[in-house]
């Protein structure tokens, strides 16, 4: 609720400040575009991190010195 009120306030200030500028709608859609794309990128990054972080650690660990073998990775001893 508070965030909606503050967004409305922001919109009013922007409109009154710009007056009759013709570039205002383009700028606002550009900002909207950036926001939509960054949200999409964050969602994809979150899924990639969730699936790939543990395999990344395993790959980095298996390539460190001294190199452990695959048997050591999979066996429960």
């Amino acid at each position: 609720m508070a965030s909606k009120a503050s967004l409305k306030g922001k919109g009013k200030v922007a409109k009154s400040g710009r007056g009759g500028s013709a570039a205002a709608p383009d700028e606002r859609t550009a900002v909207k575009c950036v926001k939509v794309w960054s949200t999409w990128a964050m969602k994809k990054a979150k899924v990639a991190a969730q699936y790939g972080f543990i395999p990344l650690i395993i790959v980095v660990g298996m390539n460190s010195d001294p190199k452990p073998s695959l048997y050591q990775l999979l066996s429960p001893i």
Partner: protein
């Protein structure tokens, strides 16, 4: 009658009971240009937290850590017990849960990667990377399958000669910064500010830490209305005593606790008593090389909530 024994080195009678004269420690002149680096701002109360807030749990816990080489290890962890769900009423709601957690750790002097994934898909990730000698990047994230419940935080730490500064970026548009400076070899003071974007909240806090070889005293004040003081006294190599006081101005909550921490050869025992009527104890007993037996107990007498847990930790 044998020959009389040699006289004690410090004389006879009462003089033998007095401790030997200690050499007067030469008074060192304080070099204000050469002060030690202070502890990081978020660890300012670490001794008190280590003694007074052990990880109490209820149920069975089994942790197995398998090292594949010096830097890389895998961990398997099983937990069966109750977890408390925060509720509005005074009754506590306990939900019986069980989970299996698989983890992988990679620990290098310059890079640390720790990941834990649970059976329901939740991932706990911690990354610490030394970008240069003085600049460190830390990432802390909890990712869940449910939307809007994931949390992440990026920290950039800069360590100077006698100061440390940190800048934080978190989800929900959280930005924070803190700075701590050594004032004398024993005293360090710091402050922090944060800004929460989505709720338009901001806050500022100040902290001070005074420590000698035998004691640590810290105080923290924040504009969110929290005052926290703590004091830890190292009574001997094996015993520390700690006391903690917290006042929350918004909820008019006052809590104070006293605790002890015994670090013995085969076990570590921590116990504490609270002003809310909570008595807790946590015992880690070393049964064998690498095998630790853990007992945890928390008795909340006013709410009649008793939690007992036991577990085994195998591996380093």
């Amino acid at each position: 009658m044998g020959s009389s024994p040699a006289p004690p080195p410090y004389g006879v009678g009462l003089a033998a009971l007095l401790p030997p004269k200690e050499e007067k420690k030469a008074e060192k002149k304080v070099d204000y240009l050469n002060l030690p680096c202070p502890v990081p701002f978020e660890e300012i109360q670490r001794e008190a937290l280590m003694s007074l807030k052990p990880e109490l749990f209820e149920g069975l816990r089994f942790d197995f850590t398998k090292g594949l080489n010096q830097k890389f290890s895998l961990s398997h962890s099983v937990f069966m017990g109750s977890m408390e769900v925060p509720s509005q009423s005074t009754d506590t709601i306990k939900v019986p849960t069980s989970h299996y957690e698989f983890g992988a750790n990679f620990l290098d002097p310059r890079l640390m990667l720790v990941g834990r994934v649970l059976t329901d898909g939740r991932l706990n990730a911690r990354v610490k990377c030394d970008l240069t000698d003085n600049l460190t990047l830390k990432i802390n994230a909890q990712l869940t399958n449910e939307p809007h419940f994931s949390q992440g935080m990026f920290n950039f730490d800069y360590k100077g000669k006698d100061y440390r500064s940190q800048f934080q970026i978190g989800n929900n548009a959280f930005y924070g910064a803190n700075y701590i400076q050594s004032i004398t070899p024993n005293l360090s003071m710091g402050s922090e500010i944060f800004w929460l974007g989505h709720q338009r909240k901001s806050g500022i806090g100040f902290a001070a830490r005074y420590n000698t070889d035998k004691m640590v005293a810290t105080g923290q004040v924040a504009s969110t209305g929290i005052v926290a003081l703590s004091y830890v006294q190292k009574v001997s190599e094996k015993v520390s005593l700690a006391a903690d006081f917290m006042y929350n101005h918004m909820t008019r909550d006052v809590t104070s606790s006293f605790g002890y921490d015994y670090i013995l050869r085969q076990c570590r025992l921590r116990g504490k008593i609270d002003s809310n009527g909570v008595v807790a104890a946590y015992l880690e007993e070393r049964l064998n090389m690498g095998v630790n037996f853990v007992l945890s107990a928390e008795l909340d007498h006013p709410k009649k909530n008793y939690k007992f847990g036991f577990g085994l930790t195998v591996g380093e």
